[in-house]
């Protein structure tokens, strides 16, 4: 033992790497979540079936910290995760202030949309980094953007552009849209229509549907009727609830594929994605969490990993240095999706490929071959600089 130590000592003096400094600086990330968050309530369809249960992406953040252990050793940091569960009436802003006073700089927000918007506004110009790991809303990246707020989850516009690229590539240009009555469905439909315009698809009809058996509303409840009397190559479905949509494939009047909320879905991540190191990440996640990695898990994991990447390249734990690096063009973040990620400086959105998947396969990855952009092919997806409604100081 003594010989080993002596030997090691000699080597260390020769190599004198900072990696083996005795003291390591603690660098904690904070994960903010709230008790009773409705997004994670059991979502039961009829007869006890559960179709769309959401899981907290906390496991993604935990994996991100775990994945950073070795790099922490090399950098002289000990990374940790503070899992902050807020009671229903606790103020998230106060909690951020308390944690910031303790020296925490990076916050992953697993909170409802309105709260994320308010928080980002309240601390907009502070030396902190907030990560949106849950909301694809374009507004949060547009008029509600903030210099302090970063998005590792792709925007709705990025997803819909990915889908539009795919449809164009297949030459399925005529699209019938079926949209639900909820606000989320309307928004989704609107964003898809913008993507259709951008890529030159023809929307041959936009038809609302309702969840009902009322015979007087047959034209809005009966799927074959909803999909007849119009020409289309493909049906785009905007159905965030899923109760109607799941019956749409095989129930269309004409034999046409379904895309959007069912069928082919544009998404951040998928458990069957098998290229670019993804099986390793999926298996690692599954092993720890005991379930499949979701898109939000990926976004939480990416938030931790991208900050660690910034620390390793800047050799600093300072929030303003990290923010400057993240917003700069030197970042090449390993997305496990084959193209290196970086943040768009105009809205702090992480550039990344989008996966188009069915229930058990990734059919395509966007940007698809042939869709080009003057600076970065990834900017063929989502809101480009000239279109952005975000004003950064």
């Amino acid at each position: 033992m003594t010989i080993r130590l002596a030997c090691l000592f000699v080597l260390l003096t020769v190599l004198s790497g900072p990696a083996f400094a005795a003291e390591r600086e603690t660098f904690d990330f904070a994960y903010l979540m709230r008790d009773g968050d409705l997004a994670y309530a059991r979502h039961r369809a009829y007869t006890g079936l559960s179709l769309r249960d959401r899981q907290r992406p906390l496991e993604g953040a935990r994996l991100g910290v775990r994945d950073s252990k070795a790099i922490g050793r090399a950098l002289g940091f000990r990374f940790g995760l503070r899992e902050e569960n807020l009671s229903e009436d606790a103020s998230s802003l106060e909690r951020i202030e308390i944690l910031a006073a303790e020296g925490i700089r990076v916050f992953l927000l697993d909170l409802p949309l309105a709260e994320v918007t308010e928080l980002a506004r309240a601390v907009a110009n502070r030396d902190l980094l907030l990560f949106n790991i849950r909301h694809p809303d374009d507004g949060l990246r547009g008029t509600d953007c903030a210099p302090v707020l970063f998005h590792t989850l792709p925007s709705q516009a990025m997803r819909m552009d990915a889908l539009a690229q795919f449809l164009l590539k297949k030459n399925w240009r005529d699209v019938l849209i079926l949209e639900g009555t909820g606000a989320a469905d309307k928004t989704l439909s609107t964003v898809f229509q913008a993507a259709a315009r951008k890529f030159g698809l023809d929307v041959t009809g936009v038809r609302p549907f309702v969840l009902s058996n009322d015979p007087r509303q047959r034209d809005q409840t009966n799927l074959p009727i909803l999909t007849s009397g119009v020409d289309y190559d493909v049906v785009f479905l905007a159905d965030s609830v899923g109760e109607v949509g799941r019956y749409l494939p095989y129930n269309t009047k004409d034999p046409r594929p379904v895309v959007g909320s069912e069928g082919l879905v544009p998404d951040t991540w998928h458990w069957t994605w098998e290229r670019y190191g993804a099986p390793q990440l999926n298996q690692r996640f599954d092993k720890r969490a005991g379930r499949r990695m979701t898109s939000e898990d990926w976004a939480a994991w990416a938030a931790i990993k991208v900050v660690v990447e910034a620390i390793s390249r800047t050799k600093s734990g300072d929030a303003s240095a990290l923010r400057a690096f993240l917003r700069g063009d030197a970042l090449t973040f390993d997305t496990y999706k084959g193209l290196a990620g970086s943040f768009r400086p105009w809205d702090n959105q992480l550039r990344q490929p989008i996966l188009l998947h069915t229930h058990n396969a990734v059919v395509a990855r966007a940007p698809l071959e042939g869709f080009l952009h003057q600076t970065n092919t990834l900017d063929s997806l989502g809101i480009d600089k000239s279109e952005s409604a975000c004003v950064m100081p």
Binding site: R4, C7, L8, L11, L12, L15, G17, A19, F20, D67, S68, K69, A70, I71, R73, A74, L75, G277, Q280, L281, Q283, R284, K287, E309, S312, T332, F333, D334, G338, L339, A340, T377
Partner: protein, 324 residues
């Protein structure tokens, strides 16, 4: 004690090696998705496709080159085959998801990267026992041992680190921060430089072995490609130390590099997602495993042209050539 045994074994193996003639001329290709090994003869004809363990990837000859080892990730074992007959000689079990490995010059110790476990492990070929475990970053891949057996390098893909293990003290003595997604290694024959491919950065980092620090890099960009399409993985340096070949992954090319000048001389178009490389002993033929076109491109290194391509199994990964 371990060291002494290893040394004794080493001496006996060396003498055996001296008595051997040239190899069988056979070429072995591991196909990770079909769990098979394709065997080519010296004329590049497929002579056999053999079933092996699940998800075979890294391969290596034994010290006497009479056997070869195959790492099977999904079965968590290393299979040992006879080169001449391709019969299964044995298995080393309980090797957690091995990806690649290297054989220590003592002929007895395998240093293995355990992809899912964020570890590298040391196994004894004689007893099949695990002798040591080293903590690495996530997704360790390439393993390279120096000719004197003193240092082992392990690349961690997800941590952007090259770990340096001292075989004497059995400790990780340094973690070298390199560019994004380090994959495989090649040492110059004088062992002064360690080249490591950084897949996502699209470059090869050059590490000075004496100081264990990065001293330079080589970037790649075949005509008509964008930087993000360049994803180098496997690489090798010729015995004379003059040339390096680097498989550029998604760019579907192999780069030819002047090692001393660190300058790209040429790019050769091969199949889809070129990863694994192997060179014949005389350096005249380069074999390239194309993971997404399920074939092997064979390059004449004098003309730097692909002479032929041979269909193999699903997702070919590693190549071994028994010609010396």
């Amino acid at each position: 004690m371990r060291c002494l045994m290893g040394l004794a074994l080493c001496v006996s193996l060396l003498s055996a090696n001296g008595a051997l003639a040239k190899g069988t001329g056979l070429i072995f290709i591991s196909n990770e998705k079909s769990s098979t090994i394709t065997v080519l003869d010296a004329t590049d004809q497929v002579v056999k496709t053999m079933e092996t363990c699940a998800r075979p990837r890294g391969m290596h000859f034994s010290q006497d080159r009479e056997a070869f080892y195959v790492a099977c990730a999904d079965d968590s074992l290393i299979a040992i085959y006879d080169v001449a007959s391709q019969e299964l000689l044995g298995r080393i079990i309980n090797v957690a998801q091995p990806e690649t490995f290297d054989l220590h010059p003592n002929g007895r110790h395998l240093y293995i990267s355990n992809e899912e476990d964020a570890t590298a492990t040391l196994f004894d070929l004689e007893t099949g026992e695990q002798l040591a475990e080293f903590e690495t970053g996530e997704e360790p891949e390439g393993v390279q041992i120096t000719a004197d057996g003193r240092l082992v390098f392990v690349a961690s893909e997800a941590a952007n680190l090259v770990h340096v293990i001292d075989t004497e003290t059995q400790d990780v003595i340094k973690d070298i921060l390199v560019d994004t997604r380090p994959r495989r290694f090649a040492l110059t024959p004088d062992e002064k430089e360690l080249w490591v491919s950084a897949e996502l950065a699209g470059i090869v980092d050059i590490i000075d072995v004496a100081t264990l620090s990065i001293t330079g890099d080589v970037a790649f960009l075949p005509a008509g490609f964008r930087k993000e399409q360049i994803t180098p993985v496997d690489l090798l340096i010729t015995k004379d130390g003059a040339r390096a070949y680097v498989a550029l992954g998604r760019a579907n090319h192999v780069a030819v590099v002047d090692v001393r000048q660190r300058k790209v001389l040429d790019y050769i178009l091969v199949g889809k997602r070129a990863w694994g490389l192997a060179l014949t002993d005389d350096g005249t033929k380069l074999y390239v495993a194309n993971g997404l076109s399920d074939d092997v491109s064979i390059i004449d290194t004098a003309t730097l042209k692909v002479v032929t391509s041979v269909p193999v199994g699903l997702v070919p990964y590693g190549i071994l050539i028994d010609d010396h």
